[in-house]
Protein backbone atom coordinates (compact mmCIF):
# COMPACT_ATOMS: atom_id res chain seq x y z
CA UNK A 1 0.00 0.00 0.00
CA UNK A 2 1.47 3.38 -0.92
CA UNK A 3 2.56 5.60 1.93
CA UNK A 4 0.05 8.28 2.86
CA UNK A 5 0.40 11.36 0.63
CA UNK A 6 3.22 9.76 -1.36
CA UNK A 7 3.32 10.46 -5.11
CA UNK A 8 2.00 6.93 -5.71
CA UNK A 9 -0.99 7.26 -3.44
CA UNK A 10 -4.46 8.40 -4.39
CA UNK A 11 -4.81 12.20 -4.35
CA UNK A 12 -5.27 13.07 -0.68
CA UNK A 13 -8.18 15.10 0.57
CA UNK A 14 -5.72 17.93 1.14
CA UNK A 15 -4.71 17.93 -2.52
CA UNK A 16 -8.35 17.86 -3.56
CA UNK A 17 -8.88 21.22 -1.92
CA UNK A 18 -6.87 22.85 -4.68
CA UNK A 19 -9.71 22.04 -7.05
CA UNK A 20 -12.05 24.37 -5.22
CA UNK A 21 -11.88 27.73 -3.55
CA UNK A 22 -10.51 26.30 -0.33
CA UNK A 23 -6.87 27.30 -0.17
CA UNK A 24 -6.48 27.51 3.57
CA UNK A 25 -4.40 24.40 4.11
CA UNK A 26 -2.13 24.99 1.08
CA UNK A 27 -1.69 28.54 2.35
CA UNK A 28 -0.74 27.32 5.83
CA UNK A 29 1.77 24.84 4.40
CA UNK A 30 3.24 27.48 2.12
CA UNK A 31 3.69 29.99 4.94
CA UNK A 32 5.29 27.35 7.16
CA UNK A 33 7.65 26.39 4.31
CA UNK A 34 9.07 29.91 4.61
CA UNK A 35 9.49 29.88 8.38
CA UNK A 36 7.99 28.40 11.55
CA UNK A 37 5.14 30.53 12.90
CA UNK A 38 2.58 30.49 15.68
CA UNK A 39 -1.15 30.55 15.01
CA UNK A 40 -1.48 34.29 15.70
CA UNK A 41 1.15 35.09 13.04
CA UNK A 42 -0.30 32.59 10.60
CA UNK A 43 -3.75 34.19 10.80
CA UNK A 44 -2.23 37.60 10.15
CA UNK A 45 -0.12 36.32 7.26
CA UNK A 46 -2.98 34.37 5.66
CA UNK A 47 -5.02 37.54 5.35
CA UNK A 48 -2.24 39.04 3.21
CA UNK A 49 -2.06 36.17 0.71
CA UNK A 50 -3.43 37.35 -2.62
CA UNK A 51 -4.76 33.88 -3.54
CA UNK A 52 -6.67 33.45 -0.30
CA UNK A 53 -10.04 35.15 -0.69
CA UNK A 54 -11.63 33.54 2.35
CA UNK A 55 -12.07 35.34 5.66
CA UNK A 56 -9.44 34.14 8.12
CA UNK A 57 -11.60 32.76 10.89
CA UNK A 58 -9.27 32.02 13.85
CA UNK A 59 -11.28 28.95 14.89
CA UNK A 60 -10.96 27.45 11.41
CA UNK A 61 -7.23 28.12 11.27
CA UNK A 62 -6.51 26.59 14.68
CA UNK A 63 -8.67 23.53 13.96
CA UNK A 64 -6.92 22.98 10.64
CA UNK A 65 -3.52 23.27 12.29
CA UNK A 66 -4.50 20.62 14.84
CA UNK A 67 -5.77 18.34 12.12
CA UNK A 68 -2.64 18.85 10.05
CA UNK A 69 -0.52 18.06 13.11
CA UNK A 70 -2.50 14.87 13.74
CA UNK A 71 -1.85 13.93 10.10
CA UNK A 72 1.87 14.55 10.45
CA UNK A 73 2.03 17.52 8.07
CA UNK A 74 3.15 19.98 10.74
CA UNK A 75 4.55 19.69 14.24
CA UNK A 76 4.33 22.16 17.09
CA UNK A 77 6.42 23.15 20.09
CA UNK A 78 6.18 25.85 22.71
CA UNK A 79 8.21 28.97 22.03
CA UNK A 80 9.15 30.83 25.17
CA UNK A 81 11.11 34.05 25.33
CA UNK A 82 12.73 35.82 28.24
CA UNK A 83 9.39 37.47 28.94
CA UNK A 84 5.89 37.49 27.53
CA UNK A 85 3.59 34.58 26.85
CA UNK A 86 4.69 31.27 25.39
CA UNK A 87 3.00 30.33 22.14
CA UNK A 88 2.69 27.10 20.21
CA UNK A 89 4.91 27.43 17.13
CA UNK A 90 4.27 25.27 14.08
CA UNK A 91 6.92 23.75 11.81
CA UNK A 92 6.49 22.08 8.45
CA UNK A 93 7.42 18.37 8.47
CA UNK A 94 8.97 16.36 5.65
CA UNK A 95 5.55 14.91 4.92
CA UNK A 96 4.12 18.43 4.82
CA UNK A 97 6.83 19.49 2.35
CA UNK A 98 6.00 16.51 0.15
CA UNK A 99 2.30 17.35 0.16
CA UNK A 100 3.07 20.98 -0.67
CA UNK A 101 5.04 19.79 -3.72
CA UNK A 102 2.07 17.65 -4.76
CA UNK A 103 -0.27 20.59 -4.36
CA UNK A 104 1.98 22.77 -6.51
CA UNK A 105 2.10 20.06 -9.20
CA UNK A 106 -1.70 19.80 -9.13
CA UNK A 107 -2.01 23.58 -9.27
CA UNK A 108 0.26 23.75 -12.36
CA UNK A 109 -1.78 21.03 -14.05
CA UNK A 110 -4.97 22.86 -13.19
CA UNK A 111 -3.55 26.12 -14.50
CA UNK A 112 -2.75 24.45 -17.84
CA UNK A 113 -6.31 23.10 -18.05
CA UNK A 114 -7.78 26.50 -17.28
CA UNK A 115 -5.48 28.20 -19.79
CA UNK A 116 -6.60 25.72 -22.46
CA UNK A 117 -10.20 26.45 -21.57
CA UNK A 118 -9.65 30.21 -21.76
CA UNK A 119 -7.80 29.91 -25.06
CA UNK A 120 -10.67 27.93 -26.55
CA UNK A 121 -13.19 30.37 -25.06
CA UNK A 122 -11.34 33.35 -26.56
CA UNK A 123 -11.07 31.71 -29.98
CA UNK A 124 -14.76 30.85 -29.88
CA UNK A 125 -15.66 34.45 -29.12
CA UNK A 126 -13.39 35.71 -31.93
CA UNK A 127 -15.18 33.44 -34.36
CA UNK A 128 -18.55 34.91 -33.43
CA UNK A 129 -19.52 32.68 -30.56
CA UNK A 130 -21.89 30.45 -32.42
CA UNK A 131 -19.48 27.59 -33.14
CA UNK A 132 -21.14 24.16 -33.01
CA UNK A 133 -19.55 21.88 -30.39
CA UNK A 134 -18.55 19.26 -33.00
CA UNK A 135 -16.26 21.81 -34.65
CA UNK A 136 -14.36 22.47 -31.46
CA UNK A 137 -10.89 20.80 -31.34
CA UNK A 138 -10.64 17.58 -29.35
CA UNK A 139 -7.82 16.57 -27.05
CA UNK A 140 -4.95 14.78 -28.77
CA UNK A 141 -5.75 11.32 -27.38
CA UNK A 142 -9.40 11.62 -28.37
CA UNK A 143 -8.37 12.61 -31.88
CA UNK A 144 -6.14 9.55 -32.07
CA UNK A 145 -8.99 7.23 -31.10
CA UNK A 146 -11.39 8.53 -33.73
Amino acid sequence: MPEKNSPDSEPSEYAVYLRGEQLLQPGLLLLLARQPMHGYELIQSLSGLSFNQEECDPATVYRNLRRMEDDGLVRSEWQTGLSGPARRVYHLTTEGERLLEMMATNARRRREQLEAFLTMFTNTRLRGGGVPLKELPLREEEEEKT
Binding site: Y40, Q44, Y62, D70, P85
Partner: protein, 272 residues
Amino acid sequence: MREATLRILHAGALRGPLKECALVFQETHPGIVVSLEAAGSRECAHRLLRGEEADVVALADPAVFAELLEPEFVARYFIFATDRIVIAFDEYSRGQNEINRQNWMDILLADQTTYARSDENLDPCGYRTLMAWQLGEEFYCRPGLYNRLRNGCPSGAITPKSIDLVELIAQGRVDYAFVYSSVAVQFNLRHITLPREIDLSSPVFADRYATATVAVRGRQFGNTVLLKGAPIEFAIGIHRQTGHSDLAKSFLDFVHGRAGQAILENHGLIAC
Protein backbone atom coordinates in the same frame (compact mmCIF):
# COMPACT_ATOMS: atom_id res chain seq x y z
CA MET B 1 0.49 8.52 43.66
CA ARG B 2 0.42 10.37 46.99
CA GLU B 3 -2.68 12.32 47.87
CA ALA B 4 -2.46 15.99 47.10
CA THR B 5 -4.65 18.98 46.31
CA LEU B 6 -3.92 21.05 43.22
CA ARG B 7 -5.29 24.57 43.68
CA ILE B 8 -6.30 26.42 40.55
CA LEU B 9 -7.18 30.11 40.61
CA HIS B 10 -8.88 31.02 37.39
CA ALA B 11 -10.93 33.51 35.40
CA GLY B 12 -14.66 33.03 35.96
CA ALA B 13 -15.24 32.59 32.24
CA LEU B 14 -13.10 29.44 32.38
CA ARG B 15 -15.24 27.83 35.07
CA GLY B 16 -17.00 25.29 32.82
CA PRO B 17 -14.04 24.03 30.77
CA LEU B 18 -11.62 23.93 33.71
CA LYS B 19 -14.14 22.11 35.87
CA GLU B 20 -14.41 19.39 33.25
CA CYS B 21 -10.64 19.33 32.75
CA ALA B 22 -10.27 18.91 36.52
CA LEU B 23 -12.75 16.02 36.64
CA VAL B 24 -11.02 14.14 33.82
CA PHE B 25 -7.58 14.90 35.30
CA GLN B 26 -8.67 13.53 38.68
CA GLU B 27 -9.87 10.32 37.03
CA THR B 28 -6.45 9.74 35.54
CA HIS B 29 -4.58 10.84 38.69
CA PRO B 30 -5.97 8.80 41.62
CA GLY B 31 -5.54 10.51 44.97
CA ILE B 32 -5.32 13.96 43.43
CA VAL B 33 -7.97 16.54 44.21
CA VAL B 34 -8.25 19.60 42.01
CA SER B 35 -9.80 22.60 43.73
CA LEU B 36 -11.06 25.48 41.62
CA GLU B 37 -11.47 29.09 42.69
CA ALA B 38 -12.93 31.63 40.25
CA ALA B 39 -12.74 35.43 40.09
CA GLY B 40 -12.24 38.13 37.52
CA SER B 41 -8.73 37.76 36.10
CA ARG B 42 -7.44 41.05 37.49
CA GLU B 43 -8.99 40.17 40.82
CA CYS B 44 -7.22 36.77 40.66
CA ALA B 45 -3.90 38.55 40.15
CA HIS B 46 -4.54 41.00 43.00
CA ARG B 47 -5.38 38.08 45.32
CA LEU B 48 -2.01 36.52 44.53
CA LEU B 49 -0.36 39.88 45.17
CA ARG B 50 -2.08 39.92 48.57
CA GLY B 51 -0.59 36.51 49.37
CA GLU B 52 -3.32 34.07 48.38
CA GLU B 53 -1.88 30.70 47.42
CA ALA B 54 -2.45 28.74 44.23
CA ASP B 55 -0.59 26.16 42.19
CA VAL B 56 -1.97 26.99 38.76
CA VAL B 57 -3.26 30.33 37.49
CA ALA B 58 -5.48 30.55 34.40
CA LEU B 59 -6.48 34.03 33.28
CA ALA B 60 -8.48 35.62 30.50
CA ASP B 61 -5.67 37.92 29.38
CA PRO B 62 -1.90 37.30 29.16
CA ALA B 63 -1.47 41.04 29.71
CA VAL B 64 -2.57 40.51 33.32
CA PHE B 65 0.32 38.10 33.81
CA ALA B 66 2.72 40.57 32.21
CA GLU B 67 1.50 43.56 34.18
CA LEU B 68 0.94 42.05 37.62
CA LEU B 69 2.46 38.58 38.02
CA GLU B 70 5.55 38.18 35.84
CA PRO B 71 8.19 37.30 36.95
CA GLU B 72 7.69 37.36 40.74
CA PHE B 73 4.67 35.05 40.85
CA VAL B 74 4.61 33.28 37.49
CA ALA B 75 7.75 32.72 35.42
CA ARG B 76 6.10 31.37 32.27
CA TYR B 77 2.56 31.43 30.99
CA PHE B 78 1.12 29.75 27.94
CA ILE B 79 -1.55 30.90 25.49
CA PHE B 80 -4.12 28.12 25.29
CA ALA B 81 -7.40 29.55 23.94
CA THR B 82 -9.05 32.48 22.22
CA ASP B 83 -12.60 33.83 22.08
CA ARG B 84 -14.71 36.79 20.96
CA ILE B 85 -17.06 39.31 22.57
CA VAL B 86 -20.76 38.74 21.85
CA ILE B 87 -24.05 40.20 23.08
CA ALA B 88 -26.05 37.60 25.01
CA PHE B 89 -29.76 37.66 25.83
CA ASP B 90 -32.72 35.34 26.25
CA GLU B 91 -36.22 34.94 24.89
CA TYR B 92 -37.57 37.54 27.33
CA SER B 93 -35.15 40.33 26.40
CA ARG B 94 -36.74 43.46 24.99
CA GLY B 95 -36.12 43.69 21.24
CA GLN B 96 -34.66 40.19 21.01
CA ASN B 97 -36.54 39.54 17.78
CA GLU B 98 -35.08 42.62 16.09
CA ILE B 99 -31.52 42.83 17.34
CA ASN B 100 -28.71 42.14 14.88
CA ARG B 101 -25.07 43.11 14.37
CA GLN B 102 -26.05 46.36 12.65
CA ASN B 103 -28.69 47.76 15.01
CA TRP B 104 -27.64 46.39 18.41
CA MET B 105 -26.70 49.79 19.79
CA ASP B 106 -30.13 51.24 18.98
CA ILE B 107 -31.87 48.29 20.65
CA LEU B 108 -29.68 48.61 23.76
CA LEU B 109 -30.10 52.38 24.02
CA ALA B 110 -33.89 52.26 23.60
CA ASP B 111 -36.08 53.33 26.53
CA GLN B 112 -36.52 50.64 29.19
CA THR B 113 -33.96 48.29 27.64
CA THR B 114 -31.19 47.35 30.07
CA TYR B 115 -27.76 45.89 29.51
CA ALA B 116 -24.82 44.84 31.62
CA ARG B 117 -21.07 44.34 31.52
CA SER B 118 -18.36 43.27 33.93
CA ASP B 119 -16.06 45.61 35.88
CA GLU B 120 -13.04 46.70 33.85
CA ASN B 121 -10.95 46.94 37.02
CA LEU B 122 -11.54 43.31 37.93
CA ASP B 123 -12.24 41.47 34.74
CA PRO B 124 -10.77 41.53 31.20
CA CYS B 125 -14.22 41.02 29.70
CA GLY B 126 -15.12 44.36 31.29
CA TYR B 127 -12.36 46.38 29.64
CA ARG B 128 -12.74 44.40 26.42
CA THR B 129 -16.42 45.37 26.35
CA LEU B 130 -15.48 49.04 26.69
CA MET B 131 -12.91 48.59 23.91
CA ALA B 132 -15.54 46.98 21.66
CA TRP B 133 -17.80 49.98 22.28
CA GLN B 134 -14.98 52.37 21.33
CA LEU B 135 -14.20 50.38 18.19
CA GLY B 136 -17.92 50.28 17.38
CA GLU B 137 -18.14 54.07 17.52
CA GLU B 138 -15.68 54.32 14.63
CA PHE B 139 -16.77 51.19 12.78
CA TYR B 140 -20.42 52.25 12.63
CA CYS B 141 -19.57 55.98 12.21
CA ARG B 142 -21.63 56.81 15.30
CA PRO B 143 -19.87 59.68 17.14
CA GLY B 144 -20.57 59.63 20.87
CA LEU B 145 -21.64 55.98 20.89
CA TYR B 146 -19.04 54.95 23.45
CA ASN B 147 -20.11 57.56 26.00
CA ARG B 148 -23.79 56.88 25.40
CA LEU B 149 -23.30 53.16 25.98
CA ARG B 150 -21.12 53.77 29.01
CA ASN B 151 -23.56 56.22 30.56
CA GLY B 152 -26.49 53.94 29.76
CA CYS B 153 -25.09 51.05 31.79
CA PRO B 154 -25.83 51.74 35.49
CA SER B 155 -23.36 50.71 38.21
CA GLY B 156 -25.80 48.03 39.38
CA ALA B 157 -25.39 46.33 36.02
CA ILE B 158 -21.61 46.08 36.33
CA THR B 159 -20.52 42.74 37.81
CA PRO B 160 -17.19 41.59 39.27
CA LYS B 161 -16.73 38.89 36.63
CA SER B 162 -18.31 38.14 33.27
CA ILE B 163 -19.82 34.83 34.33
CA ASP B 164 -22.03 36.74 36.81
CA LEU B 165 -23.74 38.41 33.85
CA VAL B 166 -25.42 35.13 33.00
CA GLU B 167 -27.38 35.31 36.26
CA LEU B 168 -28.52 38.86 35.53
CA ILE B 169 -30.04 37.72 32.26
CA ALA B 170 -31.50 34.53 33.74
CA GLN B 171 -33.14 36.51 36.55
CA GLY B 172 -34.54 39.06 34.10
CA ARG B 173 -32.60 41.90 35.76
CA VAL B 174 -31.12 42.97 32.42
CA ASP B 175 -32.04 42.32 28.81
CA TYR B 176 -28.55 42.04 27.36
CA ALA B 177 -24.97 41.45 28.48
CA PHE B 178 -21.55 41.56 26.86
CA VAL B 179 -19.84 38.23 27.42
CA TYR B 180 -17.43 35.86 25.75
CA SER B 181 -18.91 33.66 23.06
CA SER B 182 -17.88 30.60 25.08
CA VAL B 183 -19.93 31.78 28.07
CA ALA B 184 -23.00 32.24 25.87
CA VAL B 185 -22.46 28.73 24.46
CA GLN B 186 -21.92 27.12 27.87
CA PHE B 187 -25.11 28.60 29.28
CA ASN B 188 -27.12 28.13 26.10
CA LEU B 189 -27.85 31.84 25.84
CA ARG B 190 -29.06 33.43 22.65
CA HIS B 191 -26.49 35.82 21.32
CA ILE B 192 -25.43 37.87 18.34
CA THR B 193 -21.87 38.04 17.13
CA LEU B 194 -20.28 41.38 16.37
CA PRO B 195 -18.17 42.25 13.31
CA ARG B 196 -14.59 40.97 13.53
CA GLU B 197 -13.39 44.56 13.35
CA ILE B 198 -14.74 45.22 16.84
CA ASP B 199 -15.17 41.88 18.64
CA LEU B 200 -11.45 41.50 19.53
CA SER B 201 -11.32 38.01 18.04
CA SER B 202 -8.89 38.24 15.16
CA PRO B 203 -5.15 38.93 14.94
CA VAL B 204 -5.89 40.34 11.47
CA PHE B 205 -7.34 43.43 13.18
CA ALA B 206 -4.74 43.70 15.95
CA ASP B 207 -3.65 47.19 14.85
CA ARG B 208 -7.23 48.41 14.78
CA TYR B 209 -7.93 46.92 18.23
CA ALA B 210 -4.86 48.69 19.62
CA THR B 211 -6.48 52.06 18.97
CA ALA B 212 -8.95 51.36 21.80
CA THR B 213 -7.72 52.10 25.31
CA VAL B 214 -9.20 51.75 28.79
CA ALA B 215 -7.76 52.98 32.09
CA VAL B 216 -7.90 50.49 34.96
CA ARG B 217 -6.59 50.34 38.54
CA GLY B 218 -2.92 49.44 38.66
CA ARG B 219 -0.81 47.40 41.03
CA GLN B 220 -0.28 50.20 43.53
CA PHE B 221 -3.22 51.82 45.28
CA GLY B 222 -4.32 54.95 43.45
CA ASN B 223 -2.38 54.12 40.28
CA THR B 224 -4.04 53.63 36.93
CA VAL B 225 -2.81 51.69 33.93
CA LEU B 226 -3.84 52.35 30.34
CA LEU B 227 -4.65 49.08 28.56
CA LYS B 228 -4.64 48.79 24.77
CA GLY B 229 -7.00 46.57 22.83
CA ALA B 230 -5.67 43.26 21.53
CA PRO B 231 -7.05 39.96 20.22
CA ILE B 232 -8.59 37.97 23.07
CA GLU B 233 -6.32 35.27 24.45
CA PHE B 234 -6.44 33.09 27.55
CA ALA B 235 -3.24 32.04 29.30
CA ILE B 236 -2.26 29.57 32.00
CA GLY B 237 0.84 29.35 34.20
CA ILE B 238 2.32 27.72 37.28
CA HIS B 239 2.79 29.70 40.49
CA ARG B 240 6.45 29.98 41.41
CA GLN B 241 5.71 29.04 45.02
CA THR B 242 3.75 25.88 44.24
CA GLY B 243 4.61 22.84 46.25
CA HIS B 244 3.29 20.61 43.45
CA SER B 245 5.26 21.70 40.40
CA ASP B 246 5.23 18.26 38.71
CA LEU B 247 1.51 17.90 39.25
CA ALA B 248 0.88 21.44 38.04
CA LYS B 249 2.94 20.74 34.92
CA SER B 250 0.93 17.56 34.30
CA PHE B 251 -2.28 19.57 34.51
CA LEU B 252 -0.99 22.14 32.01
CA ASP B 253 0.09 19.33 29.69
CA PHE B 254 -3.41 17.90 29.94
CA VAL B 255 -5.05 21.25 29.10
CA HIS B 256 -2.66 21.73 26.16
CA GLY B 257 -3.14 18.17 24.91
CA ARG B 258 -5.82 16.89 22.56
CA ALA B 259 -8.14 15.77 25.39
CA GLY B 260 -7.96 19.18 27.05
CA GLN B 261 -8.37 20.99 23.76
CA ALA B 262 -11.49 18.93 22.99
CA ILE B 263 -12.98 19.99 26.33
CA LEU B 264 -12.18 23.65 25.62
CA GLU B 265 -13.80 23.42 22.20
CA ASN B 266 -16.89 21.69 23.63
CA HIS B 267 -17.29 24.70 25.91
CA GLY B 268 -17.14 27.15 23.02
CA LEU B 269 -13.52 28.25 23.35
CA ILE B 270 -11.08 28.15 20.46
CA ALA B 271 -8.15 26.00 21.58
CA CYS B 272 -4.81 27.17 20.26
